[in-house]
Amino acid sequence: MQPFIQFESVSKSFGSMTVIDSLDLTIHKGEFLSLLGPSGSGKTTILMMLAGFERPTRGTITLDGMRIDQLPPHRREMGVVFQNYALFPHMTVAENVAFPLEMKRLPRHEIARKVARALDMVRLGSLKNRRPSQLSGGQQQRVALTRALVFEPRVILMDEPLGALDKQLREHMQLEIRELHKRLGLTIVFVTHDQSEALTMSDRIAVFNAGKIEQIDSPHAIYDTPRTRFVAQFIGETNLIEADVVNVQNGHATIALGADLAAKVRSGPELQAGQKALFSLRPERMRLGAEPAGDNSLGMTITDCIYHGDHMRVQLARGNFTFTARCERLAGDWTVGTQVVVSFDPRDCTVLTS
């Protein structure tokens, strides 16, 4: 994959407030990149700079090797899907979809053909003469998507496009967008604050916090090997414990979690004995049993059980040290107060040193 879009030390300030601080970001052709972060972290600002509605205060943005940061929006050929769809209320569905083609001055019959084909693709052919106000949220969403796709833009930008839909429809649209991405080989930059959406849809995820990229990686790597405390906490659920590195030996390290608790973890080259570190372990990577098993086994007491339908959330404690575990079911006679052994694989632990 070649670099397609490149942000080079891009900063953006509104007045005295710096929203994006020296951002470097590469987007490849044909990839589905999600910008994930809490509200206010600058995701929309990045998208708006890419679309041309905001100019970077500093830095450059290139597309296919050409500088675009000073181009006006209408000359960037980017299909933008807005959070609230932004359909033209005074035009029908077909007129909405025809709009970008008319702007390209395509011949009339070709426009008609392309509009019909595009609407059929998203199964909206029968609604082509309706106004946006006569459509459901999901249908409006599909029209907005179709309108952004139909003129074959170089990139599709989406700003929380599914935020207003209910859960079921949202999941359906996620699949539909993913499918379109694969079938048409689109380059998509997708803004969301919903981590599960980002995890299921993306080729890569850029996790943002306060205008900076915390980590940019595949969904797998983001979830399994978070590089910062923020990423570990923001994506999924985790047990985070301040710890000390006791020793490091051929690929493994021993971490002191508390006075009488230690864990063996897989170690990269960055760990050194005596370092302060942050230990992270996902609740679903723990196993609860009666007997010790494997490299890491800690005796703990169940302090609470919460039923979630498809799984249980179990609070465990030992002294003032606590863990949250997630398991499918508990052995029949376990209740609050039962002593159990918590075991986990060294490969499932993440240790952060910074």
Binding site: G52, P72, P73, H74, V80, N84, L87, P100, G137
Partner: protein
Amino acid sequence: MFRTAQTFFGLLVVTFLLMPIVAILPLAFTSSVFLTYPIEEYSLRWFVELTTADAWRLSIMNSLIIGLGATLLSTVLGTLAALGLRTKALPFANLLRTMFLLPMVVPAVVLGVGMQMLFVNLGVASTYPGVIIAHAVLCVPFVIVSVSASLQGIDPSVEKAASSLGASPVKVFRRVTLPLALPGIISGAVFAFATSLDEVVITLFVAGPNQRTLARQMFSSIRENISPTVVAAALLLIIGTLCLGGLAALLRWRQERIALRAAP
């Protein structure tokens, strides 16, 4: 109890507002030369008088010419002003808006005196362009208010969407902003026309005998000789205003529906 009192009071106010009109209008159809009840015989002679007597015919023509001119001028200027006031980075936007709306609150007499002096110096006193400009000054605020309201109803992301889809700023304006603002522009124009139609005070100052408008003609004829022609003219004005008001209400209603649509 309270509700009854409320209804009663409401009816009282409506009666008070409508009585003068109801009391006088039937006299437009009298055949007598006096403005008195009872009406002995009905006729349309005063309407005929309105369209044949030179003074009245001319004044109706003048009202239409000046009204249309002022409407055109104020609609263009007011729409441009409303568009300009929407610009994000405009300095002193609020001050400017207040200035534009000032003619609504400044006493017409003051404006009239000022304009007369100014127009004499400029050589446009007692000319059609002069009266049209004077009326337009009064009409512009109505257009600005109306157009601003409809511009406010436009979701900015709709215009952004248009430009991201390849529309140049001019195209965005023509294909998106203007159509969405059109109901507001038209209803602003209707208000402007209605304002010009019943404007007397400033007309007294800046118009000459040749630009005598219908309202002005009614004003002077009521002092000279009270003939039922005045009432017939009044009826004409009321019907015209009601039609325009109805048109404006219709457009407002449509505009609200479009604004409602714009919000998902």
